[in-house]
Symmetry: C2
Subunit: 141 residues, 2 copies
DNA sequence: CCGCCTGTTTAGAATTATTCCAATTACGAC
DNA sequence: GTCGTAATTGGAATAATTCTAAACAGGCGG
């Protein structure tokens, strides 16, 4: 196991599965998502990885995030009128968006409930993904 | 009951409740959403209302949609990497986004299930709204 | 009835997020 | 090694949305 990246094995594996190459850029982007799980935007990821890979470009960060989403290591989450945020949590879960702080929290989603939710779809509607987002204000602390 | 607008009473009522004025622009925008319930984007609404109110501006369409969302007559729906879409269906429901056609369909959501979904939130998390979005490909017909 | 006050609309400029493009660089296979 | 393809880069381009400042409209007190 390599020490300088988190889960780089999983990354290498998934990339290989999709016939893609592993690159330092993809590693640092994925690492950044794993290290601080606050659903950062592409810009935020860019800022974080620049310290490690000063030459990286924003376009590359977008490319890497896109790649990670494609090989099922990362989920893209959208909020109304806000830039896309990225989440490396692979366990099925919902999101709670706190309108006070703008922060996003993962909410555990029992698979039994997920099954019930998928069951409301009419015949012929096959969902590749379900996104459940709560919006509300957390009591200020 | 006025003949030239659909549900203009409900609109006038809700606007009054929020201390806002009724305007021809707000009426035609709301009517457009009610008349063709295909979750149009702001641009699409703009195109539709221009035939009725040729002088209306895109900024006004955005303003009106925002106003309608604020007084709970319309929901804004977001899809990854796509412009916001608007939905005048007030009954709780989920959305299915067909990646073939780009179309969005309302999916009935039993209130009992909605309650179960809200129940997964930890104490202190109070959701003002829940958004459930399925993503998938409908068999081409 | 007049003029004011506030809310609304308008056109266009500005901003923001994201994608595109063309050129360079880096692997990996042979 | 070199060749082909994939990946990265910086900058330009696009798309959606918001902002801004000015014009407008409508209800209300006088």
């Amino acid at each position: 196991m390599s020490a300088h990246t988190i889960h780089s094995d999983a990354l290498a594996q998934k990339l290989a599965d999709s016939g893609l190459r592993n690159t330092p850029q993809r590693e640092v982007v994925y690492d950044a998502l794993l290290k601080k799980r606050d659903h950062p935007t592409a810009d935020e990821v860019f800022a974080r990885v620049k310290t490690l890979l000063p030459g990286i470009s924003l376009a590359t960060v977008y490319n890497c995030l896109e790649t990670l989403v494609q090989c099922d290591l990362v989920r893209a989450v959208n909020f109304e009128r806000a830039p896309t945020r990225y989440c490396p949590n692979l366990i099925p879960h919902a999101h709670f968006h706190d309108e006070h702080s703008g922060a996003t929290h993962d909410i555990e989603l029992p698979s039994s409930l997920l099954d019930k939710i998928k069951a409301i779809l009419p015949a012929g509607y096959n969902a590749d993904a379900v996104e459940i987002t709560f919006r509300g204000k957390l009591p200020a602390r």
